[in-house]
């Protein structure tokens, strides 16, 4: 059982982490060169106009005033309005739009990764040094090594251009108005809720390539970790005992071994998923899925401070939350960890 105390302790630890991240982001942004007022005002602006912008946004206040304001706002999850990317729209609103995009991609990618990676890893461990094992390991190595900016366009070329089976980019056919049926922001779910089957099919077809690209990479990592962890567990005394007691190898592996072998695998899944929530920038770029990662990169490029601060903090928050989830899962798998 998980004690509330354990969870509370973990949650409290979030506070210093987030304050640290917030301060770091703030300092990096304000130490880096570039005047945001000038960027907002643009090349056509006179000096006077730039100063006017600076003043209206409080960018001419002393740095510690800006810092205090930022911390106070951040505590309420307010980051002000976007300077450039979505002019005069609150960062909260921008994030609310973009987070589901990233979440959906991460979920499907990870789903593919887990559902292929774990069975392959187990298979590989059980049949150690067999042809299956070698093939799986080569596959996994390739999955990790092939860069997405190469495999992505290649997949587009094959499935969209040559075979014409799947669309090249986006989340759903642009002919469909998904905004009007928005509930969760996840298009595959929203289209189902609305009962729009054509739209659902379109959303799924658009998801296949990007989710697979992420999934293959995840699968590779997960299966490698599963294999080595399982191999280690198989050699444990209790496994030998179980076999000696006459239990079949399938049952020993799945019942006694699986649970214990999962601990390092859960770590990998947690870190990966946390990372994916920060945006799979390359995949998003190649498939033109504007998620939170692309947003952050754009915001850094153009100097949209509020968006950068809001996005990084949200990412840090989600990442630590996922890690909390991982910790809780540990303690379910192995109650000793909680002590």
């Amino acid at each position: 059982m998980i004690s509330t105390r354990f969870v509370l302790k973990r949650l409290l630890l979030l506070v210093p982490v987030l304050v640290g991240v917030a301060s770091l982001v703030f300092s990096i942004l304000h130490l880096s060169p570039g005047d945001p007022a000038l960027t907002i005002a643009g090349e056509r602006a006179s000096e006077e106009f730039v100063r006017q912008v600076e003043e209206s946004l409080g960018l001419n206040d002393p740095i510690w005033v800006q810092y205090g304001r930022f911390l106070a706002d951040a505590a309420q999850f307010q980051f002000g309005e976007s300077f450039i990317i979505q002019r005069n729209t609150t960062v909260r609103e921008v994030l609310a739009n973009k987070l589901p995009v990233t979440l959906e991609l991460a979920l499907y990618g990870q789903l593919i990764g887990i559902s292929l990676g774990i069975p392959l890893g187990i298979l590989s461990a059980v049949k150690q040094d067999s042809i299956t094992d070698h093939l799986t390991r080569i596959g996994a190595l390739a999955g990790i090594s092939v860069p997405i900016f190469w495999s992505g366009p290649l997949l587009i070329l094959l499935f969209a251009q040559v075979l014409g089976l799947l669309p090249t980019s986006g989340r759903i056919s642009v002919l469909y108005n998904v905004e009007a049926i928005r509930v969760t922001g996840l298009v595959t779910i929203d289209t189902l809720i609305a009962g729009e089957l054509d739209m659902f099919v379109s959303a799924v077809r658009h998801m296949i390539l990007p989710a697979s690209v992420i999934g293959v990479y995840s699968m590779a990592l997960i299966s490698r970790m599963m294999r080595s962890s399982m191999l280690e567990v198989i050699r444990q005394d209790y496994m030998r005992t179980a076999r000696a007691k006459g239990q079949g190898s399938k049952i020993t592996v799945l019942k006694h071994g699986f649970r214990n072998a999962m601990i390092p695998v859960i770590t990998v899944i947690g870190i990966q998923f946390g990372g994916l929530l920060g945006g799979a920038v390359l995949t998003e770029t190649v498939f033109a899925i504007g998620g939170i990662g692309t947003l952050l990169v754009e915001a850094i490029k153009v100097g949209d401070y509020p968006i950068v601060q809001g996005t990084v903090l949200t990412f840090a928050f989600l990442f630590t939350l996922v890690n909390l989830g991982v910790d809780i899962t540990y303690s379910i798998l192995d109650p000793r960890i909680e002590q």
Binding site: P33, G34, D35, L38, T39, A41, G42, E43, R44, A45, S46, Q52, V53, E55, S56, L57, S82, I85, Q86, R87, N88, T89, V94, N97, V101, P153, I156, A160, Q161, P167, T168, S169, G170, R171, I172, V174, L175, Y176, N177, E179, A180, I181, R182, V187, L192, I193, A194, G195, E196, L197, D198, F200, S202, T285, V286, F287, A288, G290, K301, V302
Partner: protein, 572 residues
């Protein structure tokens, strides 16, 4: 909006519950059921339109899909200087005066007559034009729009943190007073004689909001546009970076010939080109050299190109580098840099070599001028004559990301370094991202820098005065010296050279206030001759405008200024 969406989806969910979801998920892929559902939903759903994925068959609406690299940060032309905003607002809004599609000449817009004499512009407005909200367009709308943009005393002023720099740049700095004579006539009094004024009225930033909408929405106009244009907003989807427009059947002008337009954002050029080739887009812009070749090779689309109204250059900062104050040094460097190779090899021929500040197709471009030929020997001779035969060194500041007029800044800088190395000049490249780069160079901290300019209004003044005139008071200038410090009071930092050539300044000042076209042409011809000979910049290139257009599109007119004219486009 989202509340509507919620109630809609609940209703739909209930109607689809039971048999639909699970069983139809298996059967639905065949399509028959789906079509039926679509028709039903559309009639009771009202605002939701769903179409067949194929996009162009008989009874489904015709949808034009326009691909581009970035989403619009706003739908209000007063809220941003971004070209991505202009592309969409040009469809939603009208200006008093228009550019003729594909040309840089002016034609009627919401104004049917317009004259500029002295400091007075007289404008007669078109009658019977309706805004998308059903209000009739009158002179009061223009006044409210103008005041919302520049007048901080106006109750509906959009705010210092909202309005874009085009407020003063296009209108505010030049307009003294607007007098309305009835609903369809007005007189604009200018602060000085200013020849480009009518062209400024044709810029996207000078479009007209509805006064009723200004009062109703305030700064929320950025997502609730109400214009008189050929299309009106049907849906802004920031999550998926899509903007959906529907035809305005009451449009006063030509077209529109399609039922809907969707602006689609695909950041990566190659993916966008592939989407065009696979039939998922009808028109795309923002193509680089590589993706242009992709489009050229596509069987179902073609690459359309025209000469752009822009310039890419390298500015010598005479205020900070003593060597650059000698004309012979600037000329030597102009001869030493192989701009022909830069344009043909690095920019893959999607640009032409520049010879002067003003690009072709703009009044006053001097056809007699040729680009400086690549001639290292002549360069060496000029350097020696100037007393710098042993060379010297300077820092070249450049931005890192491609810009239209300089698609490969780093490679271009490397070429400059290597070319100048041949004549003994040592170049150190200082590369920065665009924001910090602009700040660095606007403060005059560079020795030399790359930069460029896309026209706002296709007027010679927009290049010659804006980019090479120091715009300081007489007292700040020193007699017999053709440069001025960046610290001078009121200095125009868009002039990244610190150049202050009095003869040139006289000519462009006269050009700014002369209204006779022939006179202006000769003034700017002469000013260009001076700028060519004095070489405050190394003139690099005029970049082409490139668009990928699907074969199913007809009537598309590529334009170097304003547009895209999607009201003229139809789908086969």
């Amino acid at each position: 909006m989202s509340q509507d969406g919620n109630s809609l989806s609940r209703r739909r969910f209930l109607s689809a519950a039971g048999t639909a979801t699970a069983t139809a998920a298996l059967a639905g892929c065949t399509g028959g059921n789906g079509d039926e559902t679509t028709t039903e939903e559309t009639t009771d759903g009202g605002e939701t339109t769903t179409e067949d994925d194929s996009g162009g068959n008989g009874d489904s609406p015709s949808v034009l899909r326009y691909g581009r690299g970035s989403h619009s940060p706003t739908l209000d032309f007063q809220n941003s200087t971004s070209g991505e905003v202009a592309k969409v607002t040009e469809q939603l809004y009208d200006t008093l005066i228009n550019f003729e599609p594909g040309k840089s000449t002016l034609t009627q817009g919401l104004a049917t007559e317009y004259t500029l004499e002295g400091t007075t512009a007289s404008i007669t407005l078109r009658e019977g034009v309706m805004f998308h909200n059903g209000e009739e367009f009158t002179a009061q709308d223009f006044v409210a729009t103008y005041r919302r943009f520049v007048d901080s005393d106006y109750e509906n002023y959009a705010g210092d943190d909202y309005v874009s720099a085009y407020g003063p740049f296009t209108l505010g700095s030049w307009i003294d007073e607007i007098q309305v004579d009835g609903d369809y006539s007005m007189t604009i009094e200018l602060t000085q004689t200013y020849a480009p004024f009518l062209r400024n009225l044709a810029m996207f930033a000078a479009a007209v909001h509805s006064q009723a909408a200004i009062e109703e929405y305030g700064t929320e106009l950025s997502s609730n546009p109400v214009g008189t244009g050929p299309f009106q907003l049907s849906n802004l989807d920031d999550a998926n970076e899509l903007i959906r427009l529907e035809a305005n059947s009451d449009y006063w002008g030509d077209g529109p010939n399609v039922d809907e337009v969707v602006f689609v954002t695909i950041g990566q050029n190659s993916t966008r080109a592939q989407s065009l080739a696979s039939g998922e887009l009808d028109i795309t812009d923002g193509l680089g050299a590589q993706s242009s070749v992709q489009v050229e090779n596509a069987s179902n689309a073609e690459l359309v190109r025209t000469e752009g109204i822009n310039i890419g250059y390298m500015a010598f900062n005479m205020a900070s580098v003593e060597e650059f104050r000698d004309r012979r040094v600037r000329q030597a460097i102009s001869h030493a840099i192989n701009t022909e190779a830069i344009v043909n090899e690095i920019y893959s021929g999607f640009a032409t070599q520049a010879s002067q500040p003003l690009p072709p197709n703009v009044l006053g471009h001097n056809d007699d001028l040729d680009p400086y030929p690549y001639d290292p020997d002549e360069a060496q001779r000029l350097l020696e004559e100037a007393g710098y035969g042993d060379g010297f060194s300077f820092e070249l500041a450049t931005f890192q990301n491609p810009r239209g007029y300089n698609p490969s800044p780093i490679q271009t800088a490397e070429t400059v370094r290597s070319n100048l190395g041949d004549i003994g000049i040592e170049v150190e490249i200082n590369q920065q991202s665009f924001g910090p780069f602009l700040e660095y160079t606007a403060q005059g901290r560079h020795d030399a820098c790359f930069l460029g300019w896309y026209t706002d209004n296709a007027d010679p003044d927009n290049f010659m005065y804006v980019l090479l005139h120091p715009q300081v008071e007489e007292g700040e200038l020193t007699d017999g010296q053709d440069w001025v410090s960046f610290d001078a009071e009121g200095y125009n930092t868009s002039n990244r050279s610190g150049w202050a050539n009095s003869e040139y300044m006289d000519l462009v000042e006269q050009g700014q206030s002369a209204y006779d076209e022939a006179e202006r042409e000769s003034l700017y011809n002469e000013a260009n001759q001076i700028a060519h000979d004095e070489a405050p910049w190394v003139y690099l290139d005029y970049a082409d405008e490139l668009r990928g257009v699907s074969n199913r599109v007809s009537g598309f007119q590529i334009a170097a200024i304003s547009g895209p004219y999607l009201n003229l486009v139809s789908l086969n």
